[in-house]
Symmetry: C2
Subunit: 310 residues, 2 copies
């Protein structure tokens, strides 16, 4: 059995992801000590009120002293700054990982600063909600979700195995992938959907012919689905757009090309083309539900929640 | 009090909407008799197995004989065919309504066929799920949702009041609107979201660099949200696209213009423009939740369902 217990875990950043990790680690006793660090004094105070860790500090350098696992959970644009701050304070042999939604950029920001003898293993748990901050985290966020590790050439096998076992202890299934491929996959399954959702909500907000009150009242007819993703953390998503630019632009080009085809079919009344696409997409939904990656209940089960409400 | 009880209600079409109406009408005893008609013998048989009505017939003409309320719930492209079939069989003074997602086209298809003395009041309940067919309906689908009526000039006030009271009895809130305005509002809150969802799922399905299995495995990072709308009934949505063409093309043009702006901001690294949009869209989500048009639970409450599962 791989040892998934760490003497000291340092969490740099304590938002939705960091605080969910903290809760799971505590719940399962995976660490002798959890030390939390974040740039904002208010957030740090809140983490302490929520009793997410054992120690709290505004200094990332101080937090990582003596830690055998360091998890960086900050907006990807802040990765280099964190790496600079912690580099010379890391304990020899420590595992350093992150949870960023882009991998090539995060590696470029962190790897050059890691001293010899430190095991930097980039990671990305494919989990989250539209909420953010330390209050948004919860036990079990990673259960049944995939976590992608993108180890660099020459990564220590033992460190990789321990990190893998750590995520598995949190209920994740773990995949390994090339960072560039990760960034392409995430561009289509996550970044493009968020950008499209932000965009359509922006379009609706800007219309002169339809009022905002009408958009809100009638949103149950489809629009409201997009507003969930479009309520995600603005800083995180600004950084994702800036740090996975090429893959996102590639996917946006494909999306726009396909949309032009669809638009033309609508303009010229080509019902068969529309019907073909609308049938094909149904199968993908079924596969996602069968793979256990979404609930089968109609309307994401919202109706059940409405019922409970009264 | 307005009388919301009808001697005989004829339901033409018994899919998600028609069968939900049937269940509510039965549950609340709003009709002396419900007669159901649909083009498909299999669907009709299923409706009978589910005991959704009191009479069942493949003939729409037969179904409407003696009915004082006729509700047409078919794909909007089939409206004229239904109108032709029922026109000469309608009971004098009957109220005829529909539930179609486009209104100008449905009015153009139905109104010319309605004999004098028949009260045709077009309607559209803003409710549904991605499921279709008679099994997909349920009691309470319309509860708390808006229903838009688009009465024509000269509509009988009494008929309008009765139909309004009928929808209110099903738990709906009722709005009146000009048909052209309805079609613009729905183009942005419903038709564009569905088209965009279908499109992005199609784009992902077509990629060569990312496999379908990867799209499915990692879909919890955003993509899966779109697959729900993209699993909606293909016939219904083909017809919507063909029958609200101008308003949809207008909204698509606005969407694409906004997306080009966003794409350019990503290309040139203009983080402030991204941050501004991503912040603004958050407020709309909040308003929708406050208006009771979506659940407040993170991730549409999916996690709660996962928990229950195991």
């Amino acid at each position: 059995m791989t040892d998934v217990h760490f003497e000291k875990i340092a969490l740099i950043g304590i938002g939705l992801i960091g605080s969910s990790i903290a809760r799971d680690v505590k719940d399962q006793g995976l660490a002798g000590e959890i030390v939390i660090s974040t740039r904002s004094a208010d957030t740090l105070k809140r983490a302490e009120e929520l009793e997410l860790g054992d120690g709290y500090t505004l200094s990332a350098a101080e937090a990582v002293e003596g830690a055998d696992l360091v998890i960086i959970s900050v907006p990807v644009g802040a990765s280099e700054s964190v790496a600079r701050q912690i580099a010379s304070h890391l304990k020899p042999g420590a595992i350093v990982t992150d949870v960023g939604s882009t991998k090539a950029s995060v590696i470029a920001q962190i790897a050059p600063h890691m001293p010899p003898g430190i095991h930097f293993v980039p990671g990305h748990p494919i989990a989250g909600t539209e909420k953010s901050g330390p209050d948004a985290g919860f036990c079990g966020l990673f259960k049944g979700r995939w976590c992608i590790l993108t180890p660099l050439p020459g990564t220590d096998a033992g460190a990789l195995t321990r990190l893998r076992a750590f995520w598995e202890a949190l209920g994740s299934r773990v995949d390994e992938m090339d960072p560039q491929h990760h960034d392409k996959v995430l561009a289509i399954v996550s970044h493009l959907p968020h950008i499209i959702a932000y965009n359509i909500v922006g379009t609706a907000d800007d219309l002169e012919t339809v009022t905002e009150s009408e958009v809100i009242k009638y949103s149950a007819s489809g629009f409201r689905d997009f507003t969930r993703l479009a309520a995600s953390d603005p800083t995180m998503w600004r950084d994702v757009c800036l740090h996975n630019r090429d893959a996102i632009l590639e996917m946006l080009a494909r999306f726009s090309e396909d949309l032009a085809y669809l638009q033309r079919a609508i303009r010229w009344g080509e019902g068969d083309k529309l019907f073909e696409l609308f049938t094909r997409t149904r199968a993908i939904r079924r596969s996602i539900v069968e793979a256990g990656q979404d609930v089968d209940a109609p309307d994401f089960g919202r109706h059940a929640l409405d019922e409970k409400k009264g």
